[in-house]
């Protein structure tokens, strides 16, 4: 049986770990709250964007922009949004495995893989994937500065016909306990998948300043940027919710271990007392 000192040391060690996991749980809860707020705010903005695209399409049904027309796929670009850090249960493992399966299932002769997030970059580098571009520091905090450059790069790749389609793989956030692995096509865009907009009351034709083509050419990089923004924010929220769940179970498990160790400690202490009493009685007889 372990000595009382050993057990006390173990209790102290587990208790310290419990404090850390409990603090991490609180931090991820706060970050999750902020991420959920950002998702809600972005949702309103993207919905307005989608309404604009739909109005443009309804007004000019025969209007075709390169971003709307599917072309034969010679090169496919897959953007993977992975995790930033560890200690979040199966979050990183799930998204990395899913992204790998999506990449392997693509039948395009050439693939360009763009990875966002340190954990995902390390995963794909370790498995020998050739990465076209990596963005390890593109976190929710640095989004404003870098995201426009990233989305412009992606749009130019598509516009210059260096890639024929762009797919996005990320973890979408449904609630604090539900997240889904999602793969969607960013470009060419499919207007039929957008949430429908009610028909406008006005029957008058639209005025366009400048031409519809120019409006659409300016609209698309921004739409791409906002979809990327939403996906990164959702992925971050899903990571925080996974971390919160992992830290909750770690804290609970630490509590159980401490209870078990305390039981052991009491048992050992009682055994020691009993032995000492027995020795005293034996000595007195």
């Amino acid at each position: 049986m372990a000595s009382l000192r050993d057990i006390r040391q173990k209790i102290s060690g587990v208790s310290t770990t419990q404090q850390i996991t409990s603090a991490m749980k609180m931090m991820s809860t706060a970050r999750l709250g902020r991420a959920i707020e950002a998702i809600n705010l972005t949702h309103a903005y993207i919905t307005k964007f989608e309404h604009m695209v739909q109005d443009l399409k309804r007004e000019l049904p025969y209007f075709k922009h390169p971003c709307m027309v599917a072309r034969p796929v010679k090169c496919s670009c897959i953007v993977v949004i992975g995790g930033e850090r560890g200690l979040c249960g199966g979050f990183n493992h799930d998204i990395n495995r899913f992204a790998q399966s999506v990449i392997e299932e693509h039948t395009a002769p050439e693939k360009k893989i763009v990875v966002i997030g340190r954990k995902a970059i390390r995963y794909f580098e370790q498995r020998g994937f050739e990465l076209f571009a990596t963005f390890p520091d593109l976190t929710v905090k640095t989004l404003d500065n870098e995201l426009f450059a990233v989305s412009r790069q992606l749009f130019e790749l598509y516009n210059d016909e260096k890639v024929d389609e762009i797919h996005l793989v990320y973890t979408s956030f449904a609630s604090a306990v539900a997240r889904y692995l999602t793969s969607l096509r960013l470009l060419p865009i499919d207007i039929s998948t957008m949430p429908p907009k009610p028909q406008p009351k006005a029957a008058l034709p639209f005025d366009f300043y400048p031409s519809p083509l120019e409006i659409f050419s300016q609209l698309m990089p921004r739409y791409l940027r906002n979809l990327l923004y939403r996906s990164i924010v959702e992925s971050s929220a899903a990571e925080q919710s996974a971390r919160m769940a992992a830290m909750t179970s770690a804290t609970d498990r630490a509590e159980e271990i401490i209870d078990e160790l305390k039981l052991d400690l009491n048992r050992s202490r009682q055994a020691l007392i009993t032995r000492e009493i027995a020795e005293v009685i034996a000595g007195s007889q």
């Binding site: 705010l41 903005y45 604009m52 109005d55 400048p210 120019e214």
Partner: protein, 142 residues
């Protein structure tokens, strides 16, 4: 016919701002475009410049934007801005910003920071001119 219309200003990751307005003026590609209630549907791009709104109480609201899109449909104007500079974000006593006329610049090759600085300068100039002319101040948003 209703003489006012609703204006909503949306920014990525920010709260939606909504006003009831009489008139609005936006920086479009071919210069400033103004419109009132009951306008024919419109879809326009916005260039870096000033957004000027006259609300139902005849207060003047001023914003700066580095670009975006504007849509007017069914007496509702939706402005999707890349970024928004408000009067309360400006330091009116900032002497580093030169006064005088700002000639129209080609903003297409400007970085986001340069666009912001340009718009900030436009706003400060506009506010100084208003102040010098003794006109009423700009209403700031909460």
């Amino acid at each position: 016919m209703k003489k006012t219309f609703s204006v909503s200003i949306a920014l990525p990751g920010k709260h939606l701002q909504t006003f009831e307005a009489r008139q609005i003026m936006l920086p479009s590609k071919n210069g400033y475009v103004g419109f009132m209630a009951g306008r024919q549907p419109l879809l326009a791009t916005m260039e870096p410049g000033l957004i000027s709104i006259i609300d139902v109480e005849d207060h003047h609201l001023l914003f700066g934007t580095t670009g975006g899109f504007a849509e007017m449909l069914d007496n509702q104007a939706s402005l999707l801005c890349d970024s928004l500079i408000e009067v309360k974000d400006l330091d009116l006593s900032d002497s580093s910003v030169p006064t005088g006329k700002i000639y129209v610049k080609d903003t297409s090759n400007m970085s986001e920071k340069q666009k912001r600085d340009y718009v900030r300068q436009l706003m400060l100039n506009h506010l100084r001119k208003r102040s010098a002319a003794g006109r009423a101040g700009i209403k700031t948003t909460e």
